[in-house]
Amino acid sequence: MIESTLVEKIDGDKAGQYILETRDLCVFAGNRKLLQDVNLRIVPHQVFGLIGPSGAGKSTLLRCLNRLIELDHGLRVEGEILLHGRSIYSSQVNVDHLRVRLGMLFQQAVVFPVSILKNVLFGVRHHRAVPRAEWTSAAEQALREATLWDEVKDRLQDCASKLSLGQQQRLCLARTLAVNPEVILMDEPTSALDPKSTQAIEELIGQLKTTRTIILVTHHLGQAHRLCDEVAFVSNQSGGIGRIACSGPVAAILESTDLPELKDFLCSGKDPVVTCCVDGE
């Protein structure tokens, strides 16, 4: 049986092994609670999945992790988020530097209306971490890492919007990789892509976890099954407030649980890999 709440207490001895932790994280919109008591512990070099029904707060939770939620006026965060054991809400933390360390890939590919090269270098050129003379090689490395180099190497000056949607999403990933993040937050990165592009992104995620930690929000249970090492199920069945109903290794969560809301969610899935696998159905 999977424990119904992920973390009751943080084990002090093991705290150092987690790259990212949340402790009693709550998010409010005015007086309305959106997320309640989220406790997660994520170890490095794994793909950690956040699954759950629409509106449960998965994306909100993801946006808390790099403080992008602060762009949404009226949302308030309580509780703690620790990166390498240190609070990301500490006054000593530079939020812009934090967002470099926790890069983000959005649901829709957001390419700026400039060239492919300028898109890849969009973050790099502002952070000055890479000397100007090395920008081109940095762009090449990021594009290679995103397996896009061979497709665009002869048209780096073309407008990025001329690329296909799948290529645009990989370009966004290359842009994120170019600033060398430790963690990549992915918010349903394949939901707008065709199967071939989805496969390309999934293969990339598999490769990237050897060097980085990935937190993946996905509705696609098969994708969670294929890619994630661990998953957390975000449920909103308790009065519309999102909470972590259960979490653990992906196989254990998706294949055997007696949590009714998770069972409902799994059985509503469209993916044949995991549809109605609960209780042997």
Binding site: N66, L68, L71, H73, D96, H97, L98, R99, V100, G103, M104, F106, Q108, V110, V111, F112, P113, V114, F122, G123, H126, H127, C159, S161, K162, C172, R175, T176, V179
Partner: protein
């Protein structure tokens, strides 16, 4: 019955659309027809003679350009800052509404009141006297709401995911402004500036007792007591005081030059605006 009502409605809307077009074409046609005869190289390059009945309007064109350039330099930086404060930095909705209200009020202030304000503050209190600087500053203040509102509207229409993507890459507020907001919203600034300049170019009331005279001025060499000649004031004086038929022709010629100046400003900025729209359209 319903079919006929639909047709009637379409006809009414078509008439509403056609009316301003007809009026504009009529105005341009009349000005071109009556002013075309006055246009010559001498008219554009000579100075005013015989109380406007002879000579040209070179210094009037130069004076108007000086006033417009000053107004542009005064209004655009202030409007840019104001729009960025409203569209990017201000988080409190109530404060934003108040700022918007202030802009609307400023936009509704009659131009003659700007003139009075300039007369009291710049001409008298600061002791600038009649000066191109006074007129430029006043015209800049007058076009400020137009430029700011156009820029704010453009910022409002900026897709939010651009800002989020830039923030997600760790760009600071100011970096997001320079790398995302300004390039994407420059079209609003260009449009607002053109509309503002077009309005400012034809204004007479704010400059008539603060910065412009009918004759006797050339290119200003200082700030204090340095009035300029201008096209709208020239038209105003010729229309009001001159009974000489030759002055009447020059009046229409001056109006045509003013019209061409305003249209020229729009055409000058057209390539930049098209380029901006093209880039935005590629998104």
């Amino acid at each position: 019955m319903r079919h006929w009502l639909d047709r009637l409605f379409i006809l009414c809307t078509a008439l509403c659309a056609a009316l301003p077009v007809v009026i504009i074409v009529f105005i341009i046609g009349v000005i071109a027809w009556r002013g075309g005869g006055a246009l010559s190289w001498e008219f554009l390059t000579d100075q005013i003679r015989s109380a406007g009945a002879d000579g040209g309007i070179f210094y009037n064109i130069a004076g108007t350009l000086i006033l417009l350039m000053t107004a542009f330099l005064v209004s655009v930086p202030i409007a840019t800052g104001l729009a960025l404060v409203h569209g990017v930095y201000l988080k409190n909705e109530r404060t934003k509404e108040r700022l918007w209200l202030l802009l609307s009020v400023l936009n509704g202030v009659p131009s003659i009141l700007f003139g009075l304000f300039g007369l009291i503050v710049f001409v008298k209190y600061l002791g600038w006297g009649k000066s191109w600087m006074t007129g430029g500053v006043l015209l800049g203040l007058m076009m400020l709401p137009t430029v700011a509102v156009a820029f704010i509207e453009q910022i409002k229409s900026l897709p939010r995911h651009y800002i989020e993507a830039a923030a997600g890459l760790g760009l600071s507020d100011s970096q997001r402004v320079w790398s995302v907001v300004m390039p994407q919203c420059a079209g609003g600034l260009v449009t607002g500036s053109l509309l503002g300049l077009a309005r400012a170019a034809g204004e007479t009331a704010p400059i008539m007792f603060t910065s412009t005279i009918f004759a006797g001025a050339t290119i200003p060499s200082g700030v204090k007591e340095s009035p300029v000649l201008s096209l709208p004031y020239h038209i105003f004086i010729l229309a009001q005081d001159s009974f000489d038929p030759a002055a009447g022709t020059n009046l229409w010629g001056t109006a045509l030059v003013l019209l061409v100046l305003v249209l020229g400003l729009s055409l000058l900025a057209l390539p930049a605006r098209l380029h901006i729209h093209e880039e935005s359209g590629n998104d």
